[in-house]
Amino acid sequence: MTIVTVDNVTKTYQQGKIVVPALRGVSLEIEAGEFTALMGPSGSGKTTLLNLIGGLDAPSGGRISIEGEDLAAMGSAGRSRMRLAHLGFVFQAYNLIPVLSAYENAEFVLLLQGVPKAERRRKVMAMLEAVGLEGMAHRRPQELSGGQQQRVAVARAIAAAPSLVLADEPTANLDTKTGVALLDTMKQLNREHGVTFVFATHDPKVMERAKRVVRLVDGLIAEDARIEPARAMAAAG
């Protein structure tokens, strides 16, 4: 099932008198269950594409739809509702809400969705357990390490069972060991729960685990390769 359709999307930014093209005509589709990495050098348009898919910004041209709904047809409140219903986010800087505990951060989206308390508790504790933080539910972000905060962010992103999780450089602020552990957790969620992940990343560790790598250069897709079938063939061969 196609979750995301990006159709000839362009995005330009105005910096004073200079017009900067961030995306020059990108088209792709993301299917359910994918573990996809958007890779490329700085300025290639990875984060811009992620933000456009997430409805955090609007394209200058082209069309993006999430589960068949055209983002351009929605107002800001409509895009908020779309994000609430279909998307999860993991940011480079963790971006936990500082006045909420780990439990409350993970619970946040479920609260916005109006999920009853008992069901919220069940889902949140399950997600915290899935990321290995069930004993730290009541800690505030400032009482958690970087890796632990990012795990909470992952739990928050998937607690409401979104169609798609968008992760922007999730391992950039983590040491190698912590980054690997986090990616393995996300991969496990993808494998066992079918959570779809799209990463904007420089990290080769993400590429090693990705099923698909979309390489962007200067705002265009230079390469779009499905890796897992090739990897599986290599392992079997």
Binding site: N51, A77, S80, R83, F91, I97, P98, V99, L112
Partner: protein, 408 residues
């Protein structure tokens, strides 16, 4: 509940700023209550002096008597009217008076005077004149006594016990009577000390051949705040009786104008002070929004609506304003305590007595702060705090997620 929980925690997050902002609001409210208590105390004291000495909170007079104040124009059936007024307002103290203008002569001089005929024992309960006697005594019911001001006594060159003649227009001709100076008073106000005197009511009625009638019957209430309701009650009771029923504001228009002008000036000052406090609150709340741009961007990314962000900012202001208003009322009561107990003695700065609108005001200021006004100020302060958050809430609601996420 989430919004309230987050709002409370956000206020605690930057506790120093929250305390400083709440302190500014609460101290402002406390000072407002102090200023209001002192001002209202002075104003009410002024009203009591003016009303007590020259009219009443509610007065009954002949129709249109207020303009000409003709001495021979009386309230028909004055005693019955006074009894009915007392029955209509059981909590009031009823006073009857006759007002006349005349010429007061001594062997040495003659002066134009305003004279009021009073019942001395009753008059002493509403007027200060008996307390201001500096020589002799107040009227004591012997029928021939007159009390006059120090300046008038000096102008006439008379002393205690001297005889003076009061001449005025009688029923058909000029009438005159001999009076003996019973007492000399001093208010420290030229108008009161130099051209005013009191004689007994019966003497005035006899002089003018009024029989038992009077010019004015007044009701003195426990509090001036009851004037409006009492006036309405008396007007209803005396409809069609052929008399004017007036509140003190119409009986003493000069005093009423002065009080209104004072109140107007005070409220302008309050507005200016709180406008400036409000601007400070806007700045503080806006700063707290701008500091949390990234956090708001994250919340929008997760699916919070712009309206939820605005509600969060407003809820923080509601809670902060509520707490600050409670604290402010506490400060206000504390600041008013000395005004209620001992008063504040300003005489060292401005003298023991100051003339205000023809009245002699003592310079010990006592406070008078009503519960209704306290509640109004507290609610106003709370409302001001919330209103000051409208613009920052609007800014929060119009944030663009991607720009916020890029904010450091």
């Amino acid at each position: 509940m989430l919004t309230i929980k987050m709002a409370l925690r956000n206020l605690r997050r930057n506790l120093r700023r929250s305390i400083i902002t709440a302190s500014a609001i609460s101290l402002g409210l406390g000072l407002l209550m102090f200023s209001s208590g002192g001002t209202d105390g002075m104003t009410n004291r002024m009203i009591e002096k003016g009303v007590g000495g020259s009219a009443g909170h509610v007065v009954i007079q002949p129709p249109d008597w207020q303009e000409e104040r003709e001495a021979r124009d009386t309230v028909p059936g004055s005693d019955a009217v006074a009894d009915k007024l007392g029955a209509t307002l059981p909590e009031a103290f009823i006073i009857k008076r006759v007002f006349l203008d005349g010429l007061l002569t001594s062997p040495q001089a003659a002066m134009g005077v305003s004279v009021v005929g009073v019942e001395p024992e009753r008059e002493a309960r509403v007027s200060e004149i008996d307390e201001k006697i500096i020589v002799g005594t107040y009227l004591d019911g012997d029928g021939r006594g007159i009390v006059l001001g120090k300046t008038l006594a000096e102008s006439l060159d008379v002393e205690l016990g001297d005889k003076v003649v009061l001449m005025t227009q009688g029923e058909d001709d000029l009438e005159s009577r001999l009076f003996r100076v019973k007492g000399i008073y001093s208010f420290g106000v030229i108008e009161l000390d130099g051209s005013y005197a009191q004689i007994e009511l019966a003497s005035a009625q006899e002089l003018l051949s009024l029989g038992g009638e009077v010019n004015q019957i007044s009701a003195h209430l426990p509090s001036a705040r009851d004037t409006e309701a009492a006036t309405a009650t008396v007007q209803a009771a005396f409809t069609g009786a052929g008399v004017d029923v007036l509140p003190w504001q119409r009986a003493l228009p000069g005093l009423a104008e002065y009080v209104a002008a004072e109140q107007g000036e005070i409220y302008v000052m309050y507005f200016i002070i709180f406008f400036m406090v409000g601007l400070g609150i806007v700045n503080t709340v806006l700063m707290s929004v701008m500091e949390r741009l990234r956090e708001f961007g994250v919340m929008l990314s997760l699916g919070a609506t712009p309206g939820r962000l605005a509600r969060l900012v407003l809820t923080e202001a509601v809670l902060l304003g509520f707490l600050a208003s409670l604290l402010g009322v506490g400060f206000g009561l504390l600041f008013n305590w000395p005004l209620w107990t001992t008063g504040i003695d300003m005489s060292a700065m401005v003298g023991e007595t100051v003339e205000v609108s023809g009245l002699a005001m003592d310079m010990v200021i006592y406070g008078d702060l009503s519960a209704a006004k306290t509640l109004f100020f507290a609610v106003f302060t709370w409302g001001l705090t919330v209103s000051a958050a409208f613009y920052p809430a609007y800014k929060a609601a119009t944030l663009k997620p991607v720009e916020c996420l890029q904010h450091q």
